[in-house]
């Protein structure tokens, strides 16, 4: 009744265009590779990768980035999705507005925000100055740069998260709300109907944005290039810089490390989510 043929087209494309090249990359991670030829050097690349003085802060930044972006996206987009499903008038208009940043490329968003976040001429700090608030050096302060990119990532990604939540909330049968309406309060509606029943949507948002956060690259690269210095480096930017520098074997090893790290973090998450899903 569920034919195995449904696997075929997907598996073929995925194998040829993704799995095979990835397996090749595994092999190359064990070599010193110049693109022109490769010499087998065992695990030297891995040793080199872990010896990197900047690795520790890169690893930290990666985790901070993934946790913050996925957390903030859930916290912001779930209430937003509620508002845009039941709340405000003009909700069609707002839905379009919030989706606008999603339509624009990370490169364009990065360039724009790097400009708005300029410490003395940028609009954000001019506004803060007007209100008499402190004006941080968003991208120039080494301690702050990574958080500034997190903010922009959330700005750009909240539209998609909200869309997924709207879909989740919309699929809740109306009877549940009728039952909740008897009790009257929005909070109850939220706590006892929406929160539990949009659990799947929440998992999807967390999972997608967490993995997206671990893999983040475009925005960091356009806004700070991992800088100032190495202050906002994440694993992908470290790997990419090695790749750009021509250390193809080393960067392949970095990719493998990234893969393993994400596996370790994400696999238990999916297990837990799957179990909770079954309980529903």
């Amino acid at each position: 009744m569920y034919s195995n043929w449904f696997y075929m087209p997907g598996l073929i494309i995925f194998t040829v265009f993704f799995l095979v090249p990835t397996a090749l990359a595994f092999y190359f991670s064990l070599t010193r590779w110049t693109l022109f030829d490769s010499t087998y050097i065992g695990l030297d690349n891995y040793k080199e990768f872990f010896d990197d003085p900047q690795l520790k802060s890169g690893l930290q930044n990666t985790i901070i980035y993934a946790v913050l972006t996925s957390g903030l996206k859930v916290i912001i987009s779930l209430p937003l999705a509620m508002l845009l499903t039941f709340g405000v008038r003009l909700r069609t208009f707002f839905r379009s507005i919030i989706f606008l940043p999603v339509l624009i490329s990370a490169v364009a968003v990065g360039i724009t925000f790097a400009t708005l976040m300029q410490p003395s001429t940028g609009l954000i700090n001019e506004a803060l100055e007007y209100w008499g608030l402190p004006q941080p050096n968003w991208l120039g302060d080494p301690d702050l740069a990574i958080y500034s990119v997190v903010i922009v990532d959330v700005w750009k990604g909240v539209g998609i998260a909200t869309l997924i939540f709207i879909a989740g909330i919309s699929s809740i049968p109306l009877d549940y709300f009728d039952a909740a309406k008897l009790e009257g309060e929005t909070w109850i509606k939220f706590r006892h109907v929406i929160l539990p029943l949009s659990r799947n949507a929440t998992f999807t948002v967390i999972l997608l944005s967490f993995i997206g956060g671990l893999r983040t690259f475009d925005l960091i690269w356009t806004m700070t290039r991992g800088g100032p210095g190495f202050a906002s480096d994440v694993l992908t930017s470290v790997v990419y810089k090695q790749y750009q520098a021509g250390f193809y074997g080393l960067s392949s090893a970095g990719n493998v490390v990234l893969l393993v790290l994400i596996m370790i973090l994400v696999y238990p998450m999916t297990r837990i989510f799957n179990r909770l899903e079954l309980e529903l």
Partner: protein, 278 residues
């Protein structure tokens, strides 16, 4: 509805409106303002009204740049996006359906493989070698297939979640009525997956259209330029024409914007379809 409640709702409305406008609209205003400036004025990167409003001239200059390269790029990007998205929705729904329904060993192996795909960045150079071996390098079709391979894991995840909410009794009823597996899928399951299809289509269309890195590596050559690559025309290591760069941003954002406005009704309808059936 009591008066207090009404005021409460209105208040919420206005606050949301103000916050929205500032956070989500101001950056776009900045893009438009900069795109309307002269080159030297735009180089200051300030949030000010342009001395002279040159938006039309700048857009025209961008379009005319290098034999209307940006129009060619829009055409290429459109083909790339539509082709990839169609395949992703069809193939992704196949996979989501069969993986969710056959919860056996093969299904768990395939989902693990797909999870890897969700995580691992693509390996650029091995892929190019492979493409050359099968004679597909530098073709639009190869980039379509690569984008499909990369988007498939996420699409499958979404479809799988949605298939889970369709009761199996529906399948059984259809089979008893004499449908074969493909008829079951095409006539019963796929239409029910519409909210998922819309979600997947929108998200992957946006991703593919905005993708910068993959076309850069897999589709070299002047004739194969895509929308995002045109941003390089005015931005280089040493010299950036900010006004033209932002005019270019506007031009390449218009097609997805029109698409979104045009299809918004369907997107929202598709997304909310679930509740009607609920």
């Amino acid at each position: 509805m009591t008066l207090r409640k009404l005021i409460g709702i209105l208040w919420l409305d206005s606050v949301v409106m103000v916050v929205f406008s500032i956070i989500f609209i101001v950056p776009f205003v900045f893009i438009v303002l900069t795109a309307a400036k002269s080159q030297s004025e735009s180089a200051l990167l300030e949030f000010t009204l342009p001395e002279k409003f040159l938006l039309k001239e700048n857009i025209k200059e961008v379009i005319e740049f290098r034999d209307r390269r940006v129009l060619l790029a829009l055409k290429n990007s459109t083909i790339l996006t539509i082709g990839s998205v169609a395949l992703i929705v069809i193939i992704g729904s196949f996979l989501g359906f069969v993986i969710q329904r056959r919860a056996n060993r093969l299904a768990s192996i395939v989902s693990t493989l797909l999870l890897i795909g969700l995580i691992v960045p693509p390996a650029v150079v091995p892929t190019i070698y492979l493409l050359q071996k099968i004679g597909l390098y530098k073709t639009l079709i190869s980039l379509v297939l690569i984008e499909v391979a990369i988007q498939l894991p996420f699409a499958t995840l979404i479809f799988r979640t949605f298939v889970a909410s369709i009761p199996r009794e529906i399948d059984e009823a259809a089979i008893i009525d004499g449908a074969n597996p493909f008829q079951l899928f095409a006539h019963i399951i796929f239409p029910l997956l519409r909210p998922a299809s819309v979600t997947v289509a929108v998200i992957s269309a946006v991703f593919i259209y905005n993708d910068f890195t993959l076309p850069l590596y897999f589709l070299p050559g002047e004739d194969n330029v895509t929308a995002q690559l045109t941003l390089y025309s005015f931005r280089s290591q040493f010299n950036t024409q900010w006004n033209l760069l932002f005019a270019n941003v506007i031009i390449i954002t218009i097609p997805p914007l029109i698409m979104y406005i045009f299809f918004q009704r369907q997107i929202v309808a598709g997304l909310t379809a679930g509740s009607v059936k609920g």
